[in-house]
């Protein structure tokens, strides 16, 4: 049977609290208690009991279940799940780190190879440039020699041609001078009636041709 704790002020019931043997607190409206009292029965026995636990107060069963659940979770997490997950994460990170380090060393080796290759390439380029210069000098020397030979041949051919030309011209001049002297002799003979001296005619023709040639 519940026990009623009644709070009174100036003779009026302002609050009634029922405490049962199972520790459940129950608050009952004063009007209900007053009505029950007027009807002649005991307030605690006749009023409707409405369960009204403190909404803030923690209850043992909730503490028990939350603590139990938490500790089970903590034990499983601490001794099995977290170490296993973390071990996998660490192993994968180590793999990634060693892969990165391997890649770095391969990159460094590749850079060394590239540097060696570039060094060799530079040496080959220098050697190639030397060979090209030497070849160019050889080619230039050969070309100059051949040019000199060709020029000499040209000069020789030109001298021959000039000699032939001079001879042909001299021959032509001789023939022209003879023809002119003959014509001049005939003209002088016809004009004067006597034949001029051949040497004089030839000298005059030669003189005229020289003066004509000098002009």
């Amino acid at each position: 049977m519940p026990t009623a704790i009644v709070t009174q002020s100036s003779g009026q019931i302002v609050h009634v609290r029922l405490v049962s043997s199972d520790t459940t607190d129950t608050t009952v409206a004063p009007e209900a208690v007053a009505l029950a009292a007027e009807s002649g029965t005991g307030a605690a026995e006749t009023t409707a009991v409405v369960a009204a636990p403190n909404p803030i107060a923690p209850t043992p069963k909730e503490i028990f279940w939350s603590a139990g659940s938490f500790f089970v979770l903590l034990i499983v997490m601490r001794y099995y799940l977290f170490p296993k997950l973390k071990k996998g994460m660490v192993a994968r990170y180590d793999d990634i780190r060693s892969d990165i380090e391997g890649a770095d060393s391969v990159k460094a080796a590749a850079q060394t190879d590239v540097a060696g290759y570039e060094k060799q390439l530079a040496a080959v380029r220098v050697e190639a440039a030397g060979r090209i210069d030497a070849a160019r000098q050889t080619v230039d020397a050969e070309r100059n020699a051949q040019l000199a030979q060709v020029n000499a041949r040209i000069a020789s051919a030109r001298a021959d041609a000039e000699a032939k030309t001079s001879a042909a011209r001299a021959a032509a001049q001789g023939q022209v001078a003879a023809a002119v002297a003959q014509v001049a002799t005939k003209a002088a003979t016809m004009a004067s009636g006597r034949t001029p001296d051949a040497s004089v005619v030839q000298a005059a023709v030669a003189s005229a041709m020289e003066s004509a040639g000098s002009r």
């Binding site: 279940w65 603590a67 979770l73 499983v76």
Partner: protein
Amino acid sequence: MIALDFPEINSILVWKDLFPSFNKIALIAVLAAVISITIFLLAVRQDHKEAPKGIRNFAEVIVEFIEDGVVMQTMGKDGLAWTPFLMTMFLFIYLCNVPGIIPFFQMPATARMAVPLFLALMVWVIYNVTGIKHQGIGGYLKSTLFPPGVPKALYILVTPIEFISAIIVRPFSLAVRLFANMMAGHILLVTFALLSEALFQAKDKILIPVGILPFFMLVFLTSFEVLVAFLQAYIFAMLTAVYIGGATHPEH
């Protein structure tokens, strides 16, 4: 006028037993543990050598979040041994908070004092024991009650304040912060849900469109509670780490 029949506070906070000594709060607490264990069990079963994806990625994100966002920020590298404990605490609180917005549950387990109080008292015991273990009882009391750099005359004032603050108030502030936030959120959601319902079912037809306003507020508060659920779990874990870190390394 509308008839808004707001339920008694106990009817939205106190739950009947589903079976003897096992109510909705206990169910949520058990489910929080079961869901956490299931997620991590599924995660550890995946091949760790491959790039993490799906549930393993999710689990690793949680681990890294606790390590980088909580432990390294408060305790440094020495505190990494506390990661499983802090992660368990964060997951447990978060999964106890979140049912407040999940249909059919619609109640955060942390809106009852039992869960926050148990966790806060456990943290209190842990950081005090850890402090005593690391510094000895004299050293721990000295570093806690006599903070360095304070003029000796002020210890008359500072020491009682530190005693009340660090030894007495901390567990209650830790518990009440979580409990009050989650209970307030729960009551707000109930209030706006009831107000929306009352307005949508009002006899006066002109009030029906007005119901959209509390309904939008309900939607906003529901999404806000998603943030609060995460934030409160993070704050609790962070403060736990700060207290333990302070007890192990008082010079920090």
